[in-house]
């Protein structure tokens, strides 16, 4: 494979790619650089090196509560989406359901609809249905945006399963359920784990759903960060952002470790 990018064309491609990568990384690098600045305003260039902004952020009660809210919603939404998505993807892959192509499109449709509008439609629906618990509302909204990603990853994992092994197990006397549990499950677990991690990050980073459905008690982290941008002008904003970047980097490392980044992203 490596021979396909060689000679002058290869050199140009590599140089262009590296240049673009620098630009892609720049906004994140600048934020991280600023988070260590000793200046009291978040302006460039940063000066010196200090960790006081991280200390300030980690001692901020509101930040800590938002962090807990975000983690709980992301965990809850991912598990709920898994419980809805796994049987559905399995049914589409293995059981004869009429109109399965249409059903699959419907299951993936929250990905096509603008999230901003999904959130607003839910807000209106909840207020008409007199559902006022922001925690539950946020959870429902986040299940909606994570479900299609999980259905897609699980479907891909199921398609990669070696079915002859399953048939062999059943020929040898295993019930379909036992064959699924003992033969199929081990083959799809890494793919599903990667899908869950990605779904967790989608929920953890979400703003367009949370901005409609959150309230003073349940403020997910991106909403808290967005609100803080209008009232905090010191580098603690950059420190807060850097912590979110760190979470993202950890997730990428996790995906690379579980199934490899290329497989996790379907490349």
């Amino acid at each position: 494979m490596s021979g396909r990018l060689s000679g002058g064309g290869g050199f140009i491609t590599y140089s262009a790619a590296m240049l673009i990568l620098v630009v892609v990384a720049a906004p994140l690098v600048v934020v991280v650089a600023l988070s260590f600045s000793e200046l009291t305003f978040a302006t460039f260039p940063p000066k010196g090196f200090t960790l006081v902004w991280y200390e300030k952020v980690l001692q901020d009660v509101d930040f800590r509560r938002s962090f807990v809210v975000s983690v709980c919603i992301a965990l809850g939404a991912t598990s709920a989406a898994l419980m809805l998505g796994l049987p559905a993807a399995y049914a589409l892959d293995r059981w004869d359901v009429p109109g399965s192509a249409t059903v699959r499109t419907f299951l993936l449709s929250p990905m096509i609809l603008p999230i901003l509008i999904t959130g607003l439609a839910l807000l209106k629906f909840f207020s008409q249905a007199k559902m006022r618990d922001a925690g539950i509302n946020l959870l429902v909204g986040h299940v909606l945006i994570t479900l299609p990603y999980l259905v897609r990853t699980i479907t891909v994992s199921l398609e990669l399963v070696d079915r002859t092994l399953e048939e062999a197990a059943m020929t040898l006397g295993a019930s379909p359920f036992r064959a699924f549990l003992k033969v199929t499950t081990p083959q799809i677990v890494p793919g599903i784990a990667a899908g869950c991690l990605f779904a967790f990050m989608i929920s953890f980073d979400d703003y367009p759903i949370s901005m409609w459905l959150g309230d003073a008690e349940y403020t997910p982290l991106p909403v808290y960060l967005h609100d803080s941008l209008n009232r905090i002008f010191d580098p603690s904003i950059a420190a807060m952002s850097s912590l979110m970047i760190l979470t993202g980097v950890l997730a990428v490392v996790g995906l690379e470790k579980i199934v490899g980044l290329r497989r996790a992203m379907g490349v």
């Binding site: 490596s2 990018l5 000679g7 002058g8 064309g9 590599y14 790619a17 990568l21 630009v23 892609v24 990384a25 720049a26 994140l28 302006t43 460039f44 260039p45 419980m83 998505g85 049987p87 399995y90 589409l92 004869d96 359901v97 059903v103 419907f106 299951l107 449709s109 609809l113 603008p114 901003l116 509008i117 999904t118 607003l120 439609a121 839910l122 209106k124 629906f125 299940v143 909606l144 019930s175 699924f180 990605f198 953890f204 980073d205 703003y207 901005m211 982290l221 991106p222 960060l225 967005h226 941008l229 952002s241 979110m244 970047i245 993202g248 997730a251 990428v252 992203m265 379907g266 490349v267």
Partner: protein, 311 residues
């Protein structure tokens, strides 16, 4: 899991001729929770919101008959609103075009590059995808700042001996385009890389052996064969840019306002629900149309590829 275990027992106990019906009902049973969830929390709310766009809001805030298209008329034909609709489309088009150009070198390195570089590119491309859009737009606020403390302006000033004029791109359409390209680039790089990785290296070697220079082999072989990935990617970029709220809100200012901003204002400040519904409908229409066009194009290329393979 309890549903699956119960169903498995039923299936193994059923006589062969009745299996078809059992399989059908079990499949439906497994699908039911997800479908019911989407019905109640996606379909019903969306139709209520979009439906309100053809209704009238009374002074007391009740939404009902008479049915009217006045809100669409106002949105699409009054100059103030029309400008935002057109700007949304133009920002989305520019973002898509720039994303295509930037995506190919990255996708080629991911698909064909040396393992270490391919991995590095993959990580740098995917990492922003799992960082909140708020953080990324904050990064662009710092980079594009119109004053001397904006990173780009600071770099220019410290690199040149004379004092250059300040670049004032922040709070314009172009700031939105730049930030949108950054936000959505991974979503076009990944499908293109997938398409590229599937192209047999023999085809490109054959083109080269028959005397095609590299750029020609790229234009005549690589580019057409990666068309399905390109189409899928560019559709996502276009549709998501047209539906964005955070980017125009954080870096666009009034000069870079988009439909998403208008939607939020109508819903949260003006409380005009029919107008909100009309804006939402136009945004959904843009998303669905680009999706339909893309499905059609991908079908076209796969069919053409197959029929050419037959000859």
């Amino acid at each position: 899991m309890s549903i699956a275990s119960a169903s498995a027992q039923i299936v193994s106990a059923a006589p062969a001729d009745r299996r078809g019906i059992f399989r059908l009902s079990i499949g439906t049973l497994l699908l039911l929770p997800a479908l019911a969830f989407l019905f109640f929390f996606l379909l019903v709310p969306s139709f209520t919101l979009l439906g309100s766009s053809v209704l009238t809001q009374s002074p007391s805030g009740d939404i009902g008959l008479p049915a009217t298209l006045a809100h669409y008329d106002r949105l699409l034909f009054s100059p103030a609103y029309q400008r935002v609709v057109l700007r949304t489309l133009s920002i989305s088009l520019w973002t898509s075009a720039i994303s295509i150009i930037l995506a190919y070198p990255l996708a080629m390195v991911i698909a064909y590059g040396r393992p270490a570089l391919s991995r590095l590119t993959m990580i740098v491309v995917v990492a922003p995808l799992v960082v909140s859009v708020i953080v990324r737009c904050y990064g662009w606020q710092l980079l594009l700042g119109n004053s001397k403390s904006g990173v780009v302006n600071w770099l220019l000033a410290s690199l040149s001996s004379s004092s250059p004029g300040l670049i004032k791109v922040m709070y314009t359409e172009w700031a939105v385009i730049i930030a949108s390209v950054h936000v959505f680039l991974p979503l076009i790089v990944l499908p293109i890389a997938t398409s590229l990785a599937r192209i047999s290296s023999f085809l490109i070697e054959a083109a080269r052996m028959l005397g095609a220079p590299p750029w020609r082999a790229f234009l005549r072989v690589t580019l057409p064969l990666s068309a399905p990935g390109l189409t899928a990617g560019v559709t996502i970029v276009f549709a998501l840019t047209a539906a964005s709220f955070v980017t125009p809100q954080m870096v666009g200012g009034t000069k870079g306002s988009m439909l998403g901003i208008l939607l939020e204002q109508q819903a949260m400040t003006v409380f005009d629900w029919p107008m909100t519904g009309a804006i939402a409908s136009v945004m959904v229409a843009i998303a669905l149309c680009s999706n339909a066009v893309s499905t059609w194009i991908i079908d076209f290329f796969t069919r053409r590829g197959r029929s050419q393979g037959d000859h």
